[in-house]
């Protein structure tokens, strides 16, 4: 099934958000699937946001932060990694396909890589089809 996946991205303003901007400067092409929400640090992303995005029907969620050692706030991305690893396991145990959820370390210099990641993620989501939870209010009231 071919459709345009909707990816909600959370991007750290120092690295991944800057990397996405650089992709623009480089005119790197990628599908218009991803829309970024700028956060100061990937450590600002709450697991709730990821679950909310999926519950609302996002086909994919991407969290982008700085590579280890590069975090503007020293250790924020380590906290992200710890949280999201456990969240991912929990989503898996809940019966949700965690291939829809990605954690990527993309630096402010990796414009092309940002484009590649989106390209690849979009393709993968296209193969998986839309988020099955799209639509419906979640309960029968």
């Amino acid at each position: 099934m071919s459709y345009n996946p909707n990816i909600v991205g959370f991007a750290c303003q120092w690295c991944t958000y800057a990397g996405a901007d650089l992709a623009g400067n480089l005119r790197a092409k990628y599908p218009p699937s991803v829309k970024l929400i700028k956060v100061p640090c990937s450590g600002r992303v709450e697991p709730e946001y990821v679950m909310e995005a999926f519950a609302q029907g996002a086909d994919g969620v991407l969290i982008g932060g700085c590579h280890f050692g590069d975090c503007h706030y020293k250790t924020g991305n380590h906290k992200t990694s710890q949280r999201m690893t456990i969240l991912s396991k929990m989503l898996d145990d809940m019966g949700f396909d965690t291939k829809r959820f990605r954690l990527e370390w993309i630096s402010g210099a990796e414009g092309y890589r940002f484009a590649e990641v989106i390209e690849e993620f979009t393709k993968e989501l296209q193969e998986m089809g839309p988020n099955p939870l799209k639509g419906g209010n979640g309960h029968g009231k």
Binding site: D21, L36, P40, R44
Partner: protein, 669 residues
């Protein structure tokens, strides 16, 4: 209810060439709370900005969304504009439809337009929940603390003091000077270390703006940039420094011996001692760990009386001191005294140590004639144990063949993988100094490669070759102990692709530079981090080489990584300039994008406390209950605590939960 104005930019054809700007504008109009949606050719131009300002001034809008390029470059421009028009600058949000839109989806006009709508929707969603915020200012204490008084600390302190700032210089040893004071001459100019350092030491000590605290250590630091409180422990000297004249008589009479650190263990010093002849301040201390309490003179006890003479029986040190600076009857507090000082910024210049030869098992560490380069520096120094005569330790005879071995513990995965950076150069220096004095001495130098990257350095190295010093490319593999304390060198000649063996009288090891053990404790007190090489981590290896992740703390010299004297001094002056910035501003601005605890919601669980990389969160007591509080001047606004607080008690202004949920909703609508 918020009145949101949306302004969509064409950016010439940059955006409009791909995205249907009119459609985006039309869509924006349909969003909740949007009262006006306009478009313009260049939003950042004067006319574009004026359009926004007019709407604000006319009271049409109270939240502004500009859909254009990236907030990373343009947010400040628009914020300033609405602020001029009388709106709080934080009531602004940008939708990035160029850098993350038209520029990357040039081949998909429709997709780009749809994405732009979503992004605008997200920005509007957030804007509806924006709140006005205020930047804050806090006053600073116009004083600086410099920790460590080697050439790095000395240079930084002088610089700060000359700019007019009160400066405290804290040194843990009895005298300032650091490693440089132990050196004989210094590359690349071969000037005498003491001749250039001693005047600086004296200048520091006498500077009206500098208070030098030697034999002192930092016990604790609290506070934040502009307002640090440092507790300094003045260690117990057991000598009344106000009386001590530095004559050294006590040291001559004191019978207790222990290896002399200043001479790198090559000679002994006494328990009562002055660190070295040019020490500043030139004062004696009694090292209680090695004092043997002569004639039973425990500290704080009255002397026994000689039955014959009727006079008190004093220890040799007390007896020797004409100035009566040593009085063992006084009950000195062994912990010394704590002093609190208030400063606005701190420079850390605590230097380094070199590795001990004992680590290198293949290098016959048991032989007295295997020494470290620092020991050689003392041997060839006029103030050293041999008064500058080159005599080998085992028999105090002049050696005929000397071997220099590079990279001991550096560039080696067993110890340190980094290059210690200045050993190549100082070995060449030592070889040159020796060759100058003893032209017929055989000097063999072994390098993996010679690292001489500095102004005049390669010339200095090539000059050494011209002097007849032998250079071999190839690392020494080991030493074998021969009779008469000679050593057989097992080396390799890379160019000839063959091994080499020869006998040597003295072997000098260029052992690696590393931080001393107590650096870890200091790092904990100050909240410093270590880099992969276990030196203190700078904020950014290129653009923040003197700053640290904690505002107000700056680094200088070898504590940040191996560097020679020229680089240490350059960095120290840079650190001083950076440390002076908050001091000269008189106050510091605290950006409003920081976190705040709503103490009425806080459960006092303390989960947030260890998370903050800046130690900005502390527990306070509100109505008997423990509740968290964030020190606004320490918070950098990362939001790690906000995302974690299980009670939902913390908000990160500018990135509040309601705002982010609104964005998610808009993006998935």
């Amino acid at each position: 209810m918020a009145k949101v104005g949306v302004y969509v930019c064409h950016c010439g054809s940059n955006i409009a060439g791909v995205i249907d700007v009119a459609a985006v504008r039309d869509f924006a109009e349909t969003l909740p709370d949007v009262v006006i949606a306009r478009k313009d050719l260049f939003m950042c131009s004067d006319s574009g900005q004026e359009m926004v300002k007019q709407d604000v001034r006319n009271g049409l809008v109270d939240r502004v969304v500009v859909a254009a390029c990236t907030p990373r470059t343009h947010e400040p421009i628009f914020r300033a504009a609405i602020e001029k028009a009388g709106l709080n600058k934080y009531l602004f949000e940008m939708a990035n439809i160029r850098d993350q839109g038209s520029w990357v989806h040039g081949n998909d006009h429709e997709g780009a337009t749809e994405k732009a709508k979503k992004i605008v929707g997200s920005a509007v969603g957030k804007a509806r929940f924006l709140e006005p915020l205020e930047d804050k200012f806090v006053p600073v204490t116009d004083a600086a603390l410099v920790i460590g008084a080697g050439i790095g600390g000395i240079s930084a302190a002088l610089e700060l003091a000359n700019m007019g700032h009160k400066t405290y210089l804290v040194e843990k040893r009895p005298s300032i000077g650091g490693v440089m004071a132990q050196l004989d001459k210094t590359f690349p100019t071969n000037d005498c270390s003491a001749c250039i350092l001693t005047p600086k030491m004296v200048e520091v000590y006498n500077h009206p703006n500098i208070e030098t605290l030697t034999y002192a250590e930092v016990e604790d630091v609290s506070g934040y940039i502009g307002n640090f409180t440092a507790k300094i422990r003045q260690k117990q000297t057991y000598v009344d420094w106000s009386k001590c004249t530095g004559c050294g008589d006590c040291a001559t009479k004191c019978p207790s011996k222990t290896p002399d650190e200043f001479n790198a263990g090559l000679s002994d010093r006494r328990a009562a001692y002055i660190m070295f002849p040019q020490a500043v301040p030139k004062k004696a201390v009694v090292d209680m760990e090695h004092c043997i309490n002569c004639v039973g003179r425990e500290i704080g006890t009255m002397p026994k009386i000689n039955e014959k003479t009727g006079r008190p029986i004093l220890a040799p040190c007390e007896r020797a001191c004409q100035a009566e600076a040593i009085n063992r009857s006084i009950a000195h507090n062994p912990d010394g005294a704590i002093r609190e000082i208030e400063v606005g910024s701190i420079v850390i210049a605590t230097g380094y140590q070199v590795m001990d030869k004992g680590w290198f098992k293949e290098m016959a560490p048991a032989s007295p004639n295997v020494i470290t380069a620092l020991q050689l520096e003392r041997i060839i120094s006029a103030t050293g144990p041999t008064e500058g005569k080159l005599l080998r330790p085992s028999d105090k005879e002049k050696p005929h063949t000397i071997t220099f071995v590079s990279c001991m513990g550096s560039r080696d995965e067993h110890f340190h993988t980094y290059c210690s950076r200045f050993c190549c150069m100082y070995m060449i220096k030592q070889a040159r100094l020796i060759k100058e004095k003893y032209p017929d001495m055989v000097i063999n130098m072994h390098f993996i490669d010679v690292r001489a990257a500095g102004k005049g350095y390669d010339e200095y190295y090539v000059g050494a070759r011209k002097m007849g010093i032998n250079f071999f490319k190839g690392k020494v593999g080991g030493l074998e102990m021969l009779p008469e304390d000679k050593l057989r060198v097992l080396a390799y000649d890379m160019e000839a692709a063959t091994n080499i063996e020869y006998e040597s009288d003295l072997v000098v090891l260029a052992t690696a530079v590393e931080l001393p053990q107590d650096a870890t404790a200091l790092a904990q007190k100050l909240g410093l981090q270590f880099c992969g090489s276990h030196f203190f981590r700078e904020l950014h290896p290129k653009l923040g080489p003197v700053e640290t992740a904690t505002e107000g703390l700056f680094l200088a010299g070898c504590c940040q990584g191996p560097k020679d004297i020229p680089d240490t001094v350059a960095q120290a002056k840079g650190a001083a300039a950076a440390a002076a910035v908050p001091l000269s501003q008189g106050q510091i601005r605290i950006e409003a994008i920081i976190s705040e605890v709503h103490s009425e919601k806080c459960s006092g669980c303390g989960i947030c406390i260890p998370l903050c990389p800046y130690h900005a969160i502390t527990m306070q007591t509100y109505a008997d209950r423990p509740r968290a509080q964030i020190e606004m001047s320490s918070c950098k606004g990362c939001g790690v605590c906000t995302s974690t607080c299980p009670s939902g008690a913390i908000v990160l202004h500018g990135y509040e939960e309601s705002q982010i949920f609104a964005q998610i909703e808009a993006l998935t609508a």
